[in-house]
Amino acid sequence: MTATPASDSGSGSATAGSGSASRSGASATPAIELRGLHKSFGSNHVLKGIDLSVQPRQVMCLIGASGSGKSTLLRCVNRLEEPTSGAVLIDGIDITHPDCDLDLVRRDIGMVFQQFNLFPHLSAIGNVTLAQRKVLGRSDDESRTVAIEMLERVGLSDKADSYPSQLSGGQQQRVAIARALAMNPKMMLFDEATSALDPELVGDVLDVMRQLASEGMTMLVVTHEMGFARRVADHVVFMDQGVVCEQGPPDAVLGSPSTPRLQQFLEKVLEH
């Protein structure tokens, strides 16, 4: 197992920076490993053989143009989307195996969505306690204690009793992060967590994510925030048309892109 697998796209693949694999070394079992992952929707071949691994405590940012398959890849990691072929290994165990208990797998993988997806009929604390009680079997008291702690962590302890409709987008997203963290996940997936937010609210959410990263959370982050990718990521992956086009440490990938496609993409993103 290598920490920086090559993409099977052949010509377009480039791996920048060799000695930078991860903070915990290349020998550990990857937290997330994708092997030859393919996904088609009907005749639409979206993921065309993805090989990737995210090491424990690593922060990997996934960038790429709209429609390149970033969300689909992320959703294959906790099998919200069913891979067409290939393997998804979580802590070394293939979760595409038919015997795999997905509900158990998903407890350990927190996910944050672009549209927050808070439960609108529950208050903030209700959102954060629900799965703790129903999935982990924690008592009302314990789940409340954990929920308050998590809401404090995202800076929203004063909003515990507010309903999602009474919260700003940024606050809703931070409650969603607290909801995921309350399950004590081993890793977190973020799918454009800040894309649906007003610009002035983006910072609060990114701060929480940066804090999480500094505490050593394993994170796979789909984002259009190049500043975040550059400053927080250990590893940046550029996807293009269903393949990994280029990957490596952020300075190398974002600073001196070696493929024309990534150069074009970065020019476009940085124009704004």
């Binding site: 919200l80 509900d103 998903r106 407890r107 996910m111 997806n117 009929h121 799965a131 999935v135």
Partner: protein, 282 residues
Amino acid sequence: MSVEAQLGESDLPELYRSGRAKAARSKRNRIITYVISAVIVAVVVAYGDWAKIADKYLDVERAGELFPEIITIATKNTLIYTVGAFVGGVTIGLVMAIMKLSSLRPYRWFAITYIEIFRGLPALMTIFLVGFVAPTALGVRFPQVLGVESAGIIALSLVAGAYLAETIRAGIEAVPKGQVEAARSLGMTQGQTLRIVVIPQAFRLVIPPLTNELVLLLKDTALLASLGTTAASVELTKFGKDAFNKDFNGTPFVVAAVMYLLITIPLTQVVAWLERRNKAMR
């Protein structure tokens, strides 16, 4: 003084001339409607035999004799039939809705067959099938429950369940997919997701049509007048008819009708309010 007022009709822009013509026409139509209505009311008042009408339909003494039974038995029973059938209908409707959304084909077919049959039959036919055919052909005996005929509750539940299945299914489908994904990503099972995330939200969405079904059910309990009931298990319409049959005075029907309206009109107001609120929340 505005500029247009000083100008002659022919100097006005076409837009204004056309607008004035329309206003004049609608005023004329309104006046014609008022006149016709006034004539009809005048004819009815002049030619109606008010003494007879009062005697045959609004006899205060006969009305008084209906009390308190019309409340303590007939209206009470009507409400029990309604609420019973509503609870039964929502339960059946929920089960059928979930079966219809199932990925397993036999479940879907069962639900579709059920829904098509009980929406396709006249409600009165279902009442006969349950109340008369089932006991004679199948030997089923329906006990009295809470002082009313359970056959009536069952028949109306079957009918309401078929309509509510579609309503509830639409509600479930209207819950955003992201809700399911959020729940599943937290490790909830499919069943937990349905029970604690999807169904509570679906019911919130369908409260107005659900309340509307309650009103329809209340009126449909009148069909149970054709069912064999005892003096104690009778609902409002049969109660009115039994009282009418004594001497063919229409007063009991009028009083029973008022009883229905006393319940349905406030309920439809509630439906309208719920619908306005739902719209405002969106």
